[in-house]
Point group: C2
Chain length 368, copies 2
């Protein structure tokens, strides 16, 4: 019986995306050097949590920061605070925002906020989407990069213009910066410079950064203090968050200065994909460490093609593909430490196999 794509992927020696595999070693390594005598944080208090929050507040150029178990919790709370402040229970974001498609409608079910979806499933939010709003909103959420469309970004000038417009209109601007560090090389800005355009900023501690879980929400102290009350209401004010905080700190230090390399790797790798027939990337030229790879094939054909490549080569390109339509499917690539551990000849071999097998499947075209 032929292996499924996920099974074949699990047998590969190398992975295109991510850092090391998500196994228990990730936590164990982060804890190796810590002093067992150090006291746990206790319900949001204590050196471990307060020091890390202060450090990330500085990094993001904000007055204060709060560590949350998840971005889902942090972002709903940010939007709720801004909605309460303005007494307008309406916010706006992209149709493929994490809040819209991955959170079981928590924002609506728990916070009863109405949402306006800006732009569409193929592009990012532009200034005109915001100036064209015909209803009052309390807050606009921008996700940078827009993950579900391959990590696309607006121009920096657009960001500045949206920020200025929102301030004039009394609209709070929230940054879904789950992958904020990953876009700094493209914009050539610091996290604090981008953060200055926003009233509140969320970053994930595990996506590009590689921690175990957790998130940071930053803003003025009057905002973060309110967020702590909501964190308790959500059940996120755990007696001990240190397993996530210590690993967040460890991998933040380990990976934060490597984002430029990941970005350059992504640009170079997308170019290789784009040289293959029936394959294109979105964006064509990445603007962060990530992009989506589109195959002009049906889902089953694509899965079978990829599985056979994994069996002959040693690199897992993806564990899944998502159907776009009957003639196209795609997967995400997100560069981290893992890519660097792959010997260059292995990469070459995989792209040769990819070209050859697509050609075999279709019309004897070749890429490599």
């Amino acid at each position: 019986m032929k292996a499924t794509l996920a099974e074949a992927f699990n047998q590969t020696s190398y992975r295109l995306s991510g850092h090391t595999p998500r196994n228990l070693e990730v936590l164990k390594q982060a804890l190796n050097q810590v002093d067992g005598e150090r006291a746990s944080d206790m319900y949001g208090k204590g050196e471990i949590i307060e020091d890390f929050q202060d450090k990330l507040a500085d990094f993001l150029g904000k007055e204060a920061a709060v560590f949350f178990p998840s971005g889902t919790m942090a972002q709903q709370i940010a939007l709720r605070i801004w909605a309460d402040e303005k007494q307008v229970k309406r916010v706006a974001y992209h149709p493929l925002s994490h809040l819209e498609i991955h959170e079981e409608d928590g924002l609506k079910e728990l916070h009863h906020l109405e949402t306006i979806l800006l732009a569409d499933e193929n592009r990012v939010i532009e200034l005109e989407d915001v100036t064209g709003l015909d209803k009052e909103i309390a807050c606009l959420l921008l996700e940078l990069p827009q993950r579900e469309i391959g990590g696309q970004l607006p121009s920096y000038e657009t960001l500045e213009a949206i920020s200025e417009y929102c301030r004039k209109q009394g609209i709070r601007l929230h940054l879904d910066g789950a992958r904020l560090l990953e876009i700094l090389p493209y914009y050539r800005k610091s996290a604090a410079e981008i953060g200055a355009l926003f009233d509140s900023v969320y970053i994930s501690m595990y996506k590009g950064l590689g921690g175990v879980a957790g998130a940071i929400l930053a803003g003025e102290a009057s905002f973060t203090e309110k967020s702590k009350v909501w964190k308790r209401r959500h059940g996120g004010d755990l007696i001990s968050l240190y397993p996530y905080i210590l690993s967040a700190d460890y991998y933040f230090e380990k990976h934060k200065d490597k984002m430029d390399q990941y970005y350059q790797d992504a640009v170079q790798l997308a170019e290789q994909f784009n040289r293959c027939p029936y394959i294109s990337t979105v964006p064509e030229i990445p603007v962060s460490n990530m992009f989506h790879v589109y195959l002009a094939k049906g889902k089953e054909a694509a899965e079978s093609l990829l599985a056979s490549i994994y069996e002959e080569g040693g690199i897992g390109l993806t564990s899944y593909v998502k159907e776009k339509n009957e003639q196209a499917c795609y997967f995400e690539v997100s560069i981290g430490e893992g890519y660097h551990s792959i010997p260059k000849p292995e990469i070459k071999k995989t792209f040769e196999l990819l070209g050859k097998k697509i050609s075999d499947q279709e019309e004897n075209e070749y890429c490599g």
Copy 2:
């Protein structure tokens, strides 16, 4: 300058309550033997989380169980599910329930449930409180033991009668069993036998059990499946919960069979406290591993008294006292592994000091 109570407590070599100190060693020890190659749980899926959930479901005699980051999250969700089921947005619990006093009104602010407070601040809920309800409720929450009044319990017959009444009336019965294992020796029942009286059961993985954080919510699969949706909405469906799950499992195995010893220790220790003048315990005879110690002293006098005992003896009785009124204050004792590590002569010495110093402060009475 004299040390504050908390400062004096921090200098003590032994602590009356709890297991080992809440430091990073608690997690490190739990991880020592785990295989770093084991895969993380992923958003509620995977062997680590599923196996532990199955084990705790069996232990609690329920069809299914879900691991939550916190009891705050788990219990709000349980009540919400029962309220939605019956389309009655009203539940009942004790006035000193965790939900009423420690959760910033999350149940009301996030779930918009109305609450009816049963019994009063000096006693547990009895059958008559439930049969006397004059409004319809979807769910009754019983906290066993009732922590904020020293861990008191209703009789087992009362529990059975309340359970039977609720079933007949179509009222769901939820167990706040944060400290469920701690009451099994008194009732001489298994967790499953007590669980059978309830529609849904929550237990804490860190209170008496000594894990890092986390909670289990158990019930029928139709209930737990709904709870997973709400867990995601709350932001509790983390990519990785394994730091809490592995430590919960480790300390569950380490402490679950010691509850009878902790209970007997508590009974014996309360007796010693009750022999001291100006001191009494609630309950007078503990029914679990915990009780409250009341001092017939003002808060400042009590703090000064205790601090001076810590400085001469080596045992920290408590890091804080709470004011009951101008002439009385109290603190909680909760027996775990820590108590066993205290040499008996040290305990004798501390009670001698306690008796002597109370007498010095007042009327030359003596306990010991």
